[in-house]
């Protein structure tokens, strides 16, 4: 009998289909031993350490304050209003309706009987909470203010224009700052302050100067929250030690800041685009029927990350130092990909989104300095060090273990 090609093929296929192998559970044990050990994530450890620290600091900063200074600034308001309203020696003239407005927002001055002024510093904590003053539409200063404009006296930066307004007044304020106020203010001390304020050249101070001055940060021990936006420009070491060059980045983030006394904690969320300049090559050489080479060239141009910076800091006048960490997640990349066979390019294209060779998560530790250029604008510098490997081990042995980068940032504090 002669076997046709078709008969041979069918016979082979049929036999192959009918073949079965018995699986034993022990096979998996052997296979599992060959698999690479499961990566131990450092994140549980990181969070286990970070969460209690952040929690404790947040509780400390956001928790109730002690002592008589809880509403220190706030309590001065009726006192000042009362004084200026009665004496009129600062040139502020409020009509009766305007006065009512002022009074009506926060408290009833009459009923509280704020004369003498020192009552504001008394231990009556419940007297005024969250003082806000509605400014009248027109005053003797001749400046117009929008009706219903609300000023929160707890905003510390408001003092700066006052300080800049007059050198003599600045001196007064400096002196004023040096004197201990919060805890042991007595009647005579306060009277003295009021006297000094009374002589301030108000024409140079702008609208409602006394209110601004009362918002001096140094007198307040209250915590406060603020939001901020931050723009940063960075430059850093290359990811691979055998590649010349550096990385450049631009980042935009927003966050919140809690301040208490001179300590602050801030957390944010932002986007970062980095010019990576990283090349990863994979080459295979086969010695069979002549030498053949196959090569994948991955040239990363840009990487895009989500950053979640957390910083703790200490503010001394206009200067601040901060330390913190910035966990990041790799969102996407832009890459030039080339595939070569025997040095001949077979494929060459730009690809978005590939993460080959990268670890998704990263962590930078940073030490920073900030300087308050303006009341709500800070210019600063961060020195950052990469604490988690950014490249997969399988791709390169010449990874810069902990590349250092520097970042200049400008932060705008929002209300």
């Amino acid at each position: 009998m002669s076997w046709t090609d078709q008969e041979l093929s069918e016979m082979a296929k049929k036999a192959e289909a009918g073949r079965a192998f018995t699986y034993d559970d022990s096979f998996w044990g052997e296979m599992e031993a060959l698999l690479p050990a499961k990566k131990k994530s450092i994140w549980p450890y990181f969070w286990a350490i970070a969460v209690p620290i952040v929690g404790a600091l947040t509780l400390y900063l956001a928790g109730p304050t002690k002592g008589v200074s809880t509403s220190h600034v706030a309590k001065t308001i009726p006192f000042e209003m009362n004084r200026f309203g009665n004496t009129n020696n600062l040139g502020l003239s409020l009509s009766s309706s305007q006065e009512k407005k002022v009074v009506g927002v926060d408290l009833d001055i009459q009923s509280q009987n704020f004369s003498p002024a020192i009552s504001a510093y008394s231990a009556e904590k419940s007297a005024i909470k969250n003082p806000k003053i509605l400014v009248s539409t027109e005053t003797n200063f001749g400046r117009k203010q929008k009706s219903g404009n609300t000023r929160n006296l707890e905003i510390t930066e408001q003092i700066v224009p006052v300080i800049n307004a007059s050198s003599s007044y600045k001196n007064d304020l400096t002196q004023f700052n040096r004197e201990a106020l919060p805890q042991d203010v007595n009647k005579s001390a306060e009277s003295e302050i009021v006297e000094r304020l009374s002589f301030a050249p108000l024409s140079l101070l702008g609208f409602n100067p006394y209110l601004k001055m009362l918002a001096l940060p140094y007198y307040s021990r209250r915590r406060y929250f603020s939001a901020f936006g931050e723009l940063g420009f960075g430059i850093g070491e290359a990811y691979r030690s055998d590649q010349i060059g550096h990385t450049e980045s631009i980042s935009l983030s927003a966050g919140v800041r809690i301040t208490k006394n001179k300590l602050f904690v801030q957390a944010g969320f932002g986007f970062e685009a980095e010019k990576a300049g990283l090349e990863l090559n994979e080459r295979e050489k086969i010695y069979d029927y002549g030498v053949k080479t196959f090569e994948n060239r991955l040239s990363y141009k840009q990487v895009y990350r989500l950053n979640m910076p957390i910083n703790f800091g200490y503010q001394i006048a206009k200067h601040a130092i901060q330390i913190g960490a910035t966990p990041s997640y790799l969102l996407s990349t832009k890459m030039k990909y080339a595939y070569l066979e025997n040095e001949n390019v077979k494929r060459n294209e730009t690809i978005f989104g590939t993460k080959t060779g990268w670890n998704s998560f990263g962590l930078k530790l940073n030490l920073g300095y900030g300087f308050n250029l303006f009341p709500s604008t800070t210019l600063g510098l961060n020195i950052q060090i990469q604490a988690m490997k950014q490249l997969e081990i399988s791709w390169t042995t010449s990874e810069n273990k902990m590349p250092i980068s520097g970042q200049v940032f400008i932060r705008k504090t929002l209300r």
């Binding site: 076997w3 041979l8 082979a12 049929k14 096979f27 998996w28």
Partner: protein, 190 residues
Amino acid sequence: MKVDNEIIASCIKDDRKATEQLYKYCFQSLMPVCYRYHKNEEDARSSLNIGFLKIINGLKDVELEAFNFNAWSKRIMNNTLIDEYRKSKKYRDRYSITDSERELDYFAESYKNEALSNFGEEIVLELIKELPVACAQVFNLYVIDGYAHKEIAEMLEIPEGTSKWHLSQAKKILREKLEKIESQNKRMVI
């Protein structure tokens, strides 16, 4: 059992339960492929494990949309087996040349008492194993796995014409062997 994208996604995340499930699946689908290249199950399983390791490592680079796991894994397994063969090429060549004639006689003897109705598939599979390695590879890839000569030529890094020649050689040898066995059986019956 079916391999869906969910299992594959879990394997990418290094979920060991999902990886075990995938291994079980691959054992059934790929073990026959491995067995074609080996004399016993132990060696076949060793190759399967090496291939499975490559499959797991390669999963993270695949696009899950429109992903055919069966075809992809079979291709990886075949490449693994071909690589293994290359590493031990000289040994295999000697082995084939030395034993091919003797094996032919062995099969002729072994099955001479079998009934004609049983003659066929099992013998074919064993005979394929006794083909010269290159011929067996091409025959398996073309006939059983369904690759085209062009693909086989790429995988084995040989010219397409050579692949065709190996296939025709394989069929010719198989045909000769089967006819020889058949004639032996006929003699026994008579």
